[in-house]
Amino acid sequence: MADNQQKKETVVQEVAKKKLFTRIIAGENIFKKKKKTSSEDSVKDKSKNLIDFMLTMVEVLKGKSDSAKGKIGDVKDSLPPIVLTLLVNILARLLPVMQQTVLDLLMKYLKDNCALDTVNLSIPTQLASGLQISSRSLDIFRVLKEDYNSKSGQVFFGGNNTNSFTALLRNAALNPGTPYNYPIGNNIVTTILYTATTDKFKFTTTNSGGGDVNLKDFFKGMLQKVMPFTPSVFIALACDKIYGTLSKKIDTTLDSLTQARTADDIANDEYINTIIENYLEYDLDDIVETDTFYTFTDEQKGIIESKINSRFDGEGSFVASCGEVEASIQVDQLTNQLDLLSGATKSSESKVIGQVLNNLGDLATTNLNNDDKDTGKKGFFSQLIKLFPVITTKMFLSTDIVFTMEVAKVIKNQASSQVSASGAGVKSGKEFFQKNSQIMREISKEFYGLIMTELFIIVKDEIKKLIVAQVKAIIAEKAKNYLRIILSGVEAKLNKAIALKKAIEKTT
């Protein structure tokens, strides 16, 4: 009898799951309130990227749990605080944890691929004597043309550190033939030398204490010295993705910021965005032809083309439930907001991030009438959440990480001469992703998983609230059964989620 009941419950669950999944895969609206107007969304209909789905869950559940409590008046404004709170929480406290999680993933990849557990393993001879890599192979986002002293340049350099690996690359590129030393730790130093005629950097890694350079120490040192993720960089790159804020060509006669991106740079960036989005459309254990990620449909190509043009013109839009919201955020408007962030203290940071996001939300909804502004801002914050895995994956791929991966490739292939002899590695961002397909899939999915965990905790909490609210409304005898179920089932799962949240908070 119990077996039959068990089987019945399993069948019911399977049916419900299949219905849910079929609707997502088919792009059918699960929620009646959902409204799609963007052609960009239509491309993603078959996606297994469920961030949008979870955001809709948050919206619907939040509204329902509030209305169940009789607070119907609060429902309209319920989403901005919850998504804004999530964003602030992530940007103020969780970004470093997320970065470290993915750095650990990369270290594991390096261990597996380069046999790092081998005792006294040295760096490859090419790196000890001079490993040549073309600038395009390292600079996959074309950041070296930017001036790191400028406000917008600091976004591309990951912050204001003139001794960072990327800053030294730029210095070396500006002064061909002049060596620049990058200390890695444990007496390990990498000397960077640029040759203009070949457009290549030469890296020579030595041990100033004498002897060979330990490969594990080299990798650990490189990963430990990466620039930490900052809220400013995330916000700026997200605005650039939506509005082309940093991509817009600036008239040099009117503005001193002359390091504008070229259309080719923006195209390179947009293709990388699309590749990462393609990764997110599949589960890691899905068997997918590798070309799938790097072959673009005509619809995708059309969207990319139009995105390149709009970014070049400094225009952009996102989809909110009130429709497509068009606006532009100028570079000075953005950097003014980022200045507020740099002036924040540790204790005021969360509050300031909230203010900055609100201010940017106001700019994003300038063209909306007053009735739609709240809905528009809600869409803007949701858009930032949706962009999270794409932006963080790009933030992660600083030049020092790319350099580390290039060295790993030399070791893995044991054909290092090809790197220097064949024009040195990749020629575009797309090629870099193609050559590192598996690890890049895993990295982007790791960031995806981290943001999904945060959304899941909210959804679980809202489901619990909804169930509790409904329990209160039914007769006492039934309520006992409900509470028994809640206490034994949902509550236990919720406690796990709370424990997870606390663990993350503790590490920050």
């Binding site: 849910l20 997502i24 679980k460 949902v490 796990k496």
Partner: protein, 123 residues
């Protein structure tokens, strides 16, 4: 991440967990009616009435209509109505159905007397 007991990056695993979270059994408990209640209330049960059951079902139609805003569209109004219908029928059987037992006069003295059951019905 590691503290979650499933791989949230896997869409199938996530949907499994979400469905499980939302699958709370809200059906009426169909346990047996306790013996003392049968003995005490049995004779006073009114019997089954199609009209009364129908009235109870109709009075709960609004509950089914509320399902249209459900988190999941699994089933919707028609399935909710089906559950309500069966719940009311089961409730009526458990609380109102009367079983009258008659005994035929025995042909052979001392032999087994087969009881004959008649189901009470109210109109």
């Amino acid at each position: 991440m590691g503290l979650l007991d499933f791989d949230i990056k896997n869409s199938d695993a996530l949907l499994n967990v979400l469905v499980a979270l939302m699958s709370v059994n809200i059906n009426t408990n169909t346990n047996k009616v306790p013996m003392p209640i049968i003995l005490r209330n049995g004779p006073s049960k009114p019997g089954l009435s199609a009209k009364e059951i129908a009235t109870d079902i109709i009075s709960r139609q609004t509950e089914a209509l509320e399902q249209q805003d459900n988190i999941l569209e699994a089933g919707g109004i028609s399935e909710a109505m089906e559950i309500i219908r069966v719940e009311e029928i089961i409730k009526a059987i458990q609380t109102k159905m009367r079983v009258d037992v008659g005994t035929l006069p025995s042909v052979n003295a001392g032999g087994p007397i087969p009881p004959i059951q008649g189901y009470g019905q109210a109109y």
